[in-house]
Each structure stands twice: as C-alpha cells, then as structure tokens.
C-alpha cells in the first residue's frame, strides 16, 4: 500500500495527464462528431504541436509567444489539411477517411523526423513555471499545476464556444443530425473547415503544453492517440462532456494504478475499456442509437 502523499501526488499526476487527454480527446471528438471523420493524424498533430513549441521557443524565447505563434501555425495547418484533402472524404466510407488521415499522420511524422532527426528534443520549462509548490503535505512541480489550470481554462473556453455561440449551436446540431442542418440552409462548408481547424489547434496546443514535461520525439503522439481513442469509447462518440470526463477518468486510472503497480498502469486503462464495452457499449455519455 503506497503512502498517502505518494497517492496524492499520483492523483495530481492523474489530473495533469487526464486534463491533457481531455484536451486531445475533445479535439478528436468534435471532428468526429461534426464531420464524422475519425482523425488518425491526431497523434502526429500532437507531435507537430510539440515541435512547433520547440522551434518557436528558440526564436521568441518566450513560452507564451511561442504558444501563440504555434497556435497560428496549427490553425493554418488545419485549414490546409481540410481544404486540400479532408473535405474530399466527407462522402466516402469511414475506412477511407481513416486510411487517408493515417497517411497524413505518416507524412507529418516523417516530415518532422526529416527536419529534426529522430532523437529526443528538450523543451525547457517556462520561467514562470520553474520549481515546485508546497501543497500542504505534498510538494508538487509548479508547471504541472499550471498545466492543469491552463487546460481547464481552455476547456471552459471550448465549452463556451460550443455551447454559447451560434457557431457552436450549428456544430452541436451537426453532431446530432448533419443532414438536417444542411436542409435548414446553413452553410456547413465553413463550419466544417472551422471545426477541423479548432480540433487541430486543440491537439496541437496539448502537444505544446506537454512538451516541457516529456521528451519530444516524432513518434510521441502515437500512444496519446491510442489513449484518446479509449477516452472516446469511454465517453461516447462525439460527446464533448464525455471526452472531458472520460479523459480525467483515464488519466486517474493510469496514474493511480501506477502508484500500486506501475507495470499495470496502461493495461488497466484498456481493461476498463473492455469492461465498459460489455456493460455499456454506447459509452458513459453516448446515446443508444449512435454507433
């Protein structure tokens, strides 16, 4: 049995990982829900985000500025991918969408590898996030606490966009019934473009924010993508609240399990998914009819 401080520390790690997974998965889920496209390039875009932070930080020396420019870059990348490739796949079978985004993922990762090499890069922790913070009986790295706060803010922002703006209304209506939204005369083309770009920015931001915590490598996104798939299966297809809560649950499971036996931390996540598939196949927040 691990000590209480160790457990609490793992709970915070779970929160940090969970909020990150929530951000990655909400990017995936709004694209999936609105456009019906499962974006297999999501992991690659996570890595691209981390490398964007790495490069911009060298030019700007300011973490916040680097993130701002990085977001602009991800936005443009998202626009380009949607206009040049993705939009031709809305009418094609899911398998084709998966295949083409998987191909995009390969190309992105290999571009990164060709430019920066395969070795791990370090992104320094921003000056305002150095050191550790005293939290009662527990000392915890400051940047990770800030990470939780930043991502929470971003998710609230995304929530406001989705639930308080007219574009968000169109997106949510599109998730429910894309055909009907089109019949109502709403131009989905621009909405689709914007939703795809927002999804790309969300996952890119996740990569940028996580870059100081981990080693930055071209393949760093693959495991995140697999985990975010689990999150979506947990939370229910195309559900934004499902992605956020599913992400937090997944993060806590991985972290708390590793407090007891680290070799089972990842396995436990997938075991939970298997269990949920048997007991509640539509996910925690998914409705019965959508598969």
């Amino acid at each position: 049995m691990p000590s209480w401080p160790a457990l609490a520390s793992q709970a915070f790690n779970g929160l940090a990982l969970g909020s990150l997974l929530a951000l990655v998965s909400s990017g995936l889920t709004i694209i999936l829900g609105t456009l019906g496209v499962l974006n297999f390039a999501h992991g690659a875009l996570f890595a691209v985000g981390a490398y964007a932070a790495f490069v911009m930080l060298q030019y700007t020396q300011s973490f916040l500025l680097a993130i701002a420019v990085g977001c602009g870059f991800m936005l443009v990348l998202g626009f380009l991918l949607e206009r040049l490739i993705i939009r031709f796949f809305y009418g094609r079978p899911h398998e084709d969408q998966i295949l083409v985004t998987y191909g995009i993922g390969i190309v992105l990762v290999e571009c990164v590898r060709a430019t920066f090499g395969g070795n791990a890069q370090r992104v320094p922790t921003p000056s305002w996030g150095q050191g550790a913070t005293q939290l009662g009986f527990l000392i915890y790295p400051t940047y990770r606490l800030q990470l939780i706060a930043i991502i929470a803010t971003l998710l609230v922002g995304l929530y406001l966009v989705l639930y308080r703006t007219s574009m968000g209304l169109v997106v949510r209506a599109g998730i429910e019934n894309p055909g009907m939204v089109g019949i109502l005369g709403i131009n989905l083309r621009r909405t689709f473009l914007l939703v795809f770009a927002i999804g790309v920015v969300a996952v890119g931001l996740a990569g940028m924010l996580y870059a100081p915590v981990v080693a930055v490598t071209p393949d760093m996104g693959a495991n995140f993508m697999a985990q975010s798939f689990v999150v979506i299966v947990l939370g229910g297809l195309g559900s934004f609240p499902g992605a956020v809560i599913g992400g937090l649950i997944a993060g806590e499971i991985v972290s708390l399990t590793s407090a007891f036996n680290s070799s089972y931390s990842e396995v436990m996540l997938y075991a939970l998914m298997a269990l949920l598939l048997v007991l509640r196949p539509q996910g925690l927040f998914g409705s019965e009819g959508r598969v």
Binding site: H94, I98, Y270
Partner: protein, 625 residues
C-alpha cells in the same frame, strides 16, 4: 460478371500463378534489389496479410490491432522453445497460432459488437493493450523491451537424417511452402459460403442479418481467421531471425500491414504480399541512396495518400479490375442496353400476367406448429418518447391468406411491420408465429423461424450478381444461422442452386442471372427485393409497399407474382395502391394514428364508414374497385 461454375483447371489459375511466382521470385528478383532474406520477410508479411485481407478486404472490417495477434503468436512460440517447454518448433508454432486465435476470439468478441469507426478504435486500443502487457506485466516471460533471443530454427525429420531449416534458401523455401498453403486455404475460404456471406456483410450488413445469418458470429469467424494467420506468421518470424522482437506488438506493425494491404490491393489476397514487397524494397533501396536515407517512409506516406485518394483498389486491385473490366465489358454493355430498353418501354415482363406459375420451392420451409393462425400480433406497441407510433395493435393472419395492412401516412404501418419480424423491438406486446414467440429473438432468428420481409427501399447487394444475391438468401435457409463450412465452394449445394433457379424463373430474371444488381432496371430490382425474401422459403412473407414506384404494367405483373407466391406462403402486405389491395387481399387491417381502426374482409372494409372517413375520404364508396 461471368461465373465459372465448372471446377476445372481454369478456376485454379490464381493458385498456379502464385506457385510459379514463388518459384521464379528467388531467381529473378535478387537482380532487382531483393535479397533472399528480404523475400522471406515479404512472405512473412504476406502471410499475415492473407488473414487480414479476409477480415478487411472481404468482410470490410478495418482492424488496426493485428500486431496483437502477430505478437502473441510470436512470443508464445518463442517462449515455449527458449524456455524448453517444447523442443519441436512445429509444435510450438501450432501452440503459438492457437494462442493467437484464442486471443483473437476474446478481442473479436468485444470488437464485433461495434461497427465502423468504433471497431477500428477498439482493435487499435486492444493492440496497444497487448503491447503493454508484453512490455510490463509479462516481461519476466517475454523479456520486456529486450524480446526473446535465441529462437531455434525448425528441423525436418528425425535423428541423423534431420535437416535444419537454416537461414537463407532453406528458410525461403519453408516460408514459400507455408505461404502457398495459406494462400490455397484462404482462397477456398473466400470461395466458400462463409466467404460469400462475409462479402455480402461488407455490401449490406443489415440485409444479411434480415435474411437469417448470424452476422456477429460470421464477423467473429473472420476475425479469428485473421488472428490465426497473424499468429502463425509471428511464430515464424522468431524462428526466421532467431530473435523475437517486442516491436512485433507495436502500433507500427498494425499500421504497416494496413498500408501494405491498401498499396497492394484489398480483397485480392495477394495484395498485402505485393504491398509488403513495395514497402520493404523501398525501405532497403532508398536507404542506400545518399540524402534519401530518412525519406523513404515519407515517400511511402505520400504514395499511400495518393493511392487512397485516387487508386483505392491498389496495385493488384487495379490490374484485376482492368482485366475483368476488359473481359466483361461486352456483357455489361449488353446488360445495360437491356436495362435501358426495359425502362424505355416501362414494362418488365414479356410474358402475360394471366399465366399462373408454380411457386413451390426446392428448399423446404422451417417446421412450425400446426395452427390455422400463421401470424398473430398481440397488443403490439412502440413508443418513441412521447410519440406512440404504434399503440396496442392486435390482429391475426390466417394461414395461406393474403392479409393487407393499410392506413394513411404516419399510421404506423412500417413500424408495425418492423416489429413483426423483430427488426424493431416493441415497447410492449408480442408476435407469435404459429403459436411460438418471435419477439425478443432478433431479426435473424425471426428469419430462421420463417418470417421474411421485402423492404420499402431496396436492400440488395449492389455489386453482386442476381444469382449471388439470391444465393445469400437461400444459404440462410439451407445452412441455418451459422455454419463454418470453410472448405466447400459456395455454389456446391445443389438444393441451393435449384432454389435460386426456381426463384429466377418466378421473377423472370433468369436472363439476368449474372448481371450485377446495380445495373438492373428499377422494376427488376423491386422484383428481386421480393425474390430475396422468398428465397429464404418463408412461412410468412411480409411485403412493404411492393408496388411503390412501378409503372401500371409492372404493377399488374407484380400482383400476379404475389398471387403465385400466395399459393405456398402466407402473405402480409402494406401498400398504398388500394385498387391493388382490394384486388389481392382477403382480409384487411386498417391502422390510423398508431391504433387499429378496423379489421375485416375486403368487402367489410370497403363498406366501413369509419375507414372511409379517416382514410378513403368517401372516394372509393362510389367506385367499383
């Protein structure tokens, strides 16, 4: 689509071509930059690909988790050999293959519950799970990140005469023999009834279930077959390189298999092999070119995107498509000309509709209880939230009668119909077929009990010929919900073929037997839709608006067809054409706003004031029907 029904040498051309290629490859290909080891590796990928192509190419199930089974097969084989539990490589290979199949059974059981995107995500996630299990909890056995070194090579024979299958040529020969065996088996599976059903599942899953096949079980069968092939290939990998690497389990491996299959061509069986040859050749040869060492995968990724966008059939698929297109062009153009002529004349039948045809079918209907009432609905209700689509409807259908269900739009006819064969499960109430319960068993069991339905909108398998469409239906009656007869050919059951021929005569579609259904004229498709239901030799046939969209002469012909069928089978019909209904039906049930308004003989309904008010608006009262 012509169909070689003779099982002569001609139908084995693919096998012979593969055999010739496997013999010629090590002589020719080394000059093109393929070393013997590379060829062996290509064969290993091709072997996983055979199973994967049955899963993805044939059944349309895109799995991103094949690495799990490749890894399980590999590590079980390697562990049994290196730890000394087994000394025979052959036994260890068998054990590894079976373990992979067993793991595939578990993962597949969970994965086939979901379709499309979900299926892919779940397989990918289980693939990752297998990777982490190998890496941490089982690292004591698997060596974790180090893998298992020192896997022995197989030995042929015993004692002094034993031959070690060493690296290089002997290993190539071993892999070639196993690949060839695997290919012959895979091709038999594709040509078996199971293969035909899997292909139909890819075309229209819902219809396959409605015909009475156990769709999840067939999908699971394909999944386990794919896992077995992957497991065997994994076991061979360890022996081949005398080391079992942990990255056999990685997502990379699953992804590489998918890419190779698309590049080579899905649903061709050899596509994955060709794709692997391209992938590995590019990797080995581009790496030799200065400046391109790291770019080979980028080149491949771009090529892959281009293929998915423009040449979705892949290398072999495009070649095969071009070849069959050229061979069948004349037949297709002729078929299209017939379609145009039919649609221009507005008439589908050359024969008069007065002739009564014998609708007795070769395949017997299922045995049911002996009762005068064929089908009974008891207080059937279906509520969608506050909307009561159907609200407590009861009626009985007499055996051997034509029973019509009519009512204005939104009366609940289609929902009622779907509940009769458990396509939609009722909120309350139940359906009895000759006294036994239908409700609660699902649509494919209902079909096996003897209820078939032709749909309001055609649910055909558009790329299959008329004969193959009907075969899927007849196989459901002949073989039951599930039979894993992988080695027989789909067209080798004489009573099934007799059934198909009988139905085609009845439908006047004999001349169109080999025409893909998407080429058929509209009226022909409607008749085939009825024929599909009929080919399951039902006790009760449900017809949902069989006359919709037909020209007057087609209507007359279809009414005659329905009368013919009624000689052998009870019919329930939903239709808006009231003239036709009053001409056909002995008994009519009228629905109005989800409730039963009236139930009686055609004359009673015609004279019923309530029905006229609600539905007919008094119009028909002054006209003879």
């Amino acid at each position: 689509m012509s169909e070689p029904r003779s099982d002569g040498l001609r139908s084995h051309i693919p096998e012979l071509a593969i055999l010739a290629t496997l013999i010629a490859a090590p002589v020719v290909l080394p000059h093109l930059g393929f070393s013997i080891d590379l060829l062996t590796r290509v064969l290993n990928w091709g072997l996983i690909g055979l199973g994967f192509d049955i899963l993805f190419g044939l059944a349309g199930l895109l799995s991103f988790g094949q690495a799990a089974f490749y890894g399980v097969g590999g590590f079980v084989t390697a562990y049994l050999l290196v730890s000394g539990v087994l000394s025979s490589v052959w036994l260890a290979l068998a054990a590894g293959t079976i373990s992979a199949g067993a793991f595939g059974l578990v993962v597949g059981w969970l994965a086939v519950r979901r379709i499309g995107i979900y299926f892919t995500m779940i397989t990918l996630a289980f693939g990752q799970m297998a990777y982490f299990i190998e890496n941490s909890p089982l690292s004591h056995y698997t060596g974790g990140e180090n893998g298992i070194p020192g896997v022995p090579v197989p030995v042929l024979g015993f004692g002094e005469h034993a031959i070690r299958v060493s690296a290089g040529w002997p290993m190539y020969v071993l892999f070639a023999v196993i690949f060839f065996g695997g290919y012959v088996l895979a091709r038999r599976i594709v040509r078996s009834p199971v293969g035909a059903i899997l292909l139909a599942i890819k075309e229209n899953t819902a219809r396959v279930a409605m015909l009475g096949h156990n769709v999840p079980a067939y999908k699971l069968t394909a999944f386990v077959i794919a896992a077995l092939y992957a497991g065997l290939a994994g076991g061979l990998l360890g022996s081949f390189q005398s080391y079992m690497p942990p990255d056999a389990f990685s997502l990379e491996t699953s992804g590489q298999l998918v890419v190779q299959t698309i590049v080579g061509g899905a649903n061709t069986l050899i596509g994955p092999l060709v794709g692997a040859a391209v992938w590995l050749w590019l990797r080995d040869n581009l790496q030799l070119i200065p400046g391109l060492t790291t770019l080979w995968k980028l080149v491949l990724g771009i090529a892959f995107i281009v293929l998915v966008i423009g040449l979705r059939r892949g290398i072999c698929g495009e070649i095969i498509h071009w070849w069959t297109e050229r061979r069948t062009l004349a037949a297709r153009q002729a078929a299209e000309a017939v379609t145009e002529a039919i649609e221009a004349s507005g008439s589908a039948t050359k024969t008069g509709s007065s002739r009564t045809r014998d609708a007795t079918l070769p395949l017997p209907s299922p045995v049911t209880g002996d009762s005068d009432i064929a089908l009974e609905a008891r207080a059937l209700a279906r509520h969608y939230g506050g909307l009561k689509a159907v609200d407590g409807v009861s009626f009985k259908v007499r055996c051997g009668s034509i029973h019509a269900v009519i009512g204005p739009n939104g009366a609940g006819k289609s929902t009622l119909f779907k509940m009769l064969l458990d396509e939609v499960s009722p909120t309350s109430g139940d359906v009895l077929l000759f006294g036994s319960q239908v409700t609660g068993h699902g649509v494919s069991r209902a079909a096996q009990f003897g209820i078939a339905k032709s749909n309001q909108l055609n649910q055909l398998f558009p790329n299959l010929s008329v004969r193959k469409n009907l075969r899927i239906a007849a196989l459901a009656r002949r073989r039951g919900p599930l039979r894993i007869d992988l080695l027989r050919t789909a067209d080798s059951l004489p009573d099934v073929e007799a059934q198909i021929d009988a139905i085609m005569i009845l439908l006047d579609l004999t001349a169109r037997a080999d025409t893909p259904t998407h080429i058929l004229a509209y009226g022909e498709k409607r008749r085939l839709e009825i024929g599909m239901a009929l080919a399951t030799s039902p006790k009760v046939l449900l017809l949902d608006e069989p006359l919709a969209g037909m020209s007057p002469s087609e209507r007359a012909a279809t009414c005659a067809l329905i009368r013919d069928i009624a000689q052998t089978c009870t019919i329930v019909i939903v239709e808006h054409d009231l003239d036709a209904i009053f001409g056909l039906a002995e008994r009519i049930t009228v629905l109005y706003e989800g409730r039963l308004l009236a139930d009686g003989s055609a004359d009673e309904i015609r004279g019923n004031q309530q029905v006229q008010d609600a539905y007919l608006g008094g119009l028909h009262a002054h006209e003879p029907a």
